[in-house]
Amino acid sequence: MDIKANEVLDAKGLACPMPIVKTKKAITNLEPGQVIEVQATDKGSTADIKAWAQNTGHHYLGTIEDGDVLKHYLRKATDEETKEERKHEDIVDLDELRKVIEGDEEVSILDVREPAEYAFGHIPGAVNIPLNELEERFEELNKDKGLYVICRTGSRSDFAAQKLANNGFKNVKNVVPGMSSWEGKTEKDN
């Protein structure tokens, strides 16, 4: 699968702890929300990157093996995501979304996470438009159909839902908390 990253870090051939040290340095220069691809050949790096992400608050998306090279994907944490305040009032929780998906009503699910996050697991049938591209891509969406907007924790989807509501979308719901707690079906890009 082809994953979009804002930055590629070559840590191939480096032994522990250098892949972590280089990742730490590289992620400092990224904007919050951006995605980095870390290429490593150190076999311990998958466990290390995961543990490192957990301790630093960055978001580990997944790893792809490409021959001898391990490609790790991480998303730099943002401050907004830790804030609880939400502005779009029409929200639904994950149980409601699951019922809607299983029901007869025809709905659209809009996943506003980065393509790399989407690639490692999304609700089947969800359309991916990252938050920062949403304004240029309104016409890809149906204004009259029910639109369920989801991200990882409910914060980017809140921004997206506000933007959609302000641009004539009538039935927009923010799904909370989001993919971080979704236990229903997912699919991955191949």
Partner: protein, 133 residues
């Protein structure tokens, strides 16, 4: 993160293996946003001695591992000391040992501090992880 993990390490031995244990853990911890301090005492002072740290001995009978280090592309101790310094690892050289061995601060790598046991205890008293190598 708001609750920073604090790591306190005592380095008391001066071989190459000892150096890797100390600096790998220290730099991995620092890269994980932990606050890290190392107290170098007795032979551990070799790990930050300007000349000695470039050529630390392998344990007797284990000299053949030299090749393994190169093959695995393990960074040199010099490189790891630089990384640790750059990431803000606090390095304290033991004053008492320096006096015993007639060593001066300028014989050590840049950026170290000199202090006694009490300096380390003060640093380590609220550490989450304490290690001794």
């Amino acid at each position: 993160m708001s609750n920073k993990t604090k790591v306190a390490i005592i380095a008391a031995n001066g071989g190459l293996f000892d150096a890797y244990k100390v600096f790998n853990i220290a730099s991995a911890a620092a890269a994980s946003d932990a606050e890290v301090g190392i107290f170098f005492t007795f032979e551990g002072l070799n790990l930050i001695h300007k000349e000695a740290h470039k050529n630390l001995p392998l344990p007797e009978g284990k000299e053949h591992f030299q090749e393994g280090f190169q093959k695995a592309n393990v960074p040199s101790i010099e490189e790891l000391v630089e990384v640790a310094t750059e990431m803000g690892v606090k390095m304290i050289a033991c004053q008492m040992t320096m006096d015993v061995m007639s060593l001066d601060k300028d014989q050590f790598v840049e950026g170290i501090e000199v202090g006694g046991a009490a300096t380390f205890i003060d640093y380590a008293k609220d550490a989450n992880i304490t290690l001794s190598f």
